[in-house]
Amino acid sequence: MASTRTVLLLGLLALGGCAFGPPLEIESLTGAGTVELQAVPFHPQDDYYCGPASLLSVLEYSGSEPGMDALIQRVYLPDRRGSLQVELLAAARHFGRIAYVLPPEIAAVVAELEAGRPVLVLQNLAIPERPSWHYAVLVGFDADRNRFILRSGDRPRLEEPARRWMRQWDWAGRWALVVLKPGELPARPDRDRLLRAVADFEIQAEPEAVYRAWQAVLAWDSQEPLAWLGSGNSHYVREQWTEAIRAYRMALESDPAYLPARLNLARALVRQGRPCEGLEILSAVTLEPGHRLRETHADLHRELREACGDR
């Protein structure tokens, strides 16, 4: 009995073949019949370099050209014969782009393709218990034939049945990445993911690029305190005290309890030679014991009291 069932299952699978995967109709997700970003460059992967090869494709399409060797240096792990997701993000940022990880939904991926942006994806070419990890770049879809179009491995144009591709993506945790120029936003911004992506971008980027990135977030939501904080910081590091002070005040206007903006505002006021005003800003709040910024607040308060007292 069991063997009959196995044979039946085998037969069914052979019929369905590699199309095995969750049901998926691209048509239901888009108004566009076919999207194909033909200008996305292709880099055939040598050895185990699908990570750097895929990242290079999306970076070049976005106008950043680090070159293959520099990317390999940044993301390849010789003894793992591959590249880690976090290092792809860090490398994208290192070469001047915001690394935005999409929500794990196929609709978000299709929306990016429709907006004209290629999507770097992680796929599992085997099964969950014995994974075989692979990076590729989605460059489009054909809704009529229910297929995705990819740059993958040594294939400059690979068409994959939607269900089969969906299974490979699903079994790799539905991880998808787009790279954004500072000033660009994803097609459907997800607040937490966007704020995280731009904050992480700030670590290595030029202040001017950071400023542009936060301005785009503010154009999307002018009440976001973190974006005002970031905008203020980009002025602060360029010693533009007046602009920094204005941005920090905007952050406090949206959220008077937002302590990072309060601390930075006080510092900017000191740098502009107004320690007594800074002291006033700090004295307006008292922090509970155990607050994570209590010590920073206390130190700065002491410093400003002395600076103000000297006047």
Partner: protein, 125 residues
């Protein structure tokens, strides 16, 4: 004897100053709170500066052990956000490393798929 004690003292002082010089100041921009700091403050898992630095050190060593040159390992770690460093320090071994040469095809894949669907492989995990 005197010389060797002096040498030990000197060596300790030098290593300590080297260590301290490598600890990143919370923000290079004159002590302001960065947006990355601000997000980390809201997260559930606060780390002290020293803990964060030690994690960076761990990850750099891990990368070196995986075949990256020491200078490049340090440069790569500096490019990570605090949360990314923590994630790598905690579970670099389990993180997927995309390499993509082995696509399992045809009959082999069908066998694997059946093993997966029937849950046989889970027994061995």
């Amino acid at each position: 004897m005197q010389t060797s004690i002096n040498q030990i003292v000197l060596c300790t002082v030098l290593s300590l100053s080297l260590l301290l010089s490598m600890i990143p100041v919370p923000s290079a921009a004159g002590g302001i709170v960065t947006t990355s700091d601000a997000l980390t403050l809201e997260s559930q898992d606060p780390r002290t500066t020293l803990e964060a630095w030690l994690q960076r050190e761990d990850v750099a060593q891990e990368l070196t052990a995986l075949g990256v040159s020491p200078e490049m390992a340090w440069a790569r770690v500096q490019a990570l956000s605090p949360d990314e460093v923590a994630a790598m320090a905690e579970r670099i071994a389990e993180m997927p490393a995309g390499s993509g040469v082995i696509e399992v095809l045809g009959v082999t894949f069908l066998v694997l798929l059946i093993l997966h669907l029937t849950g046989v492989l889970k027994v061995f995990r």
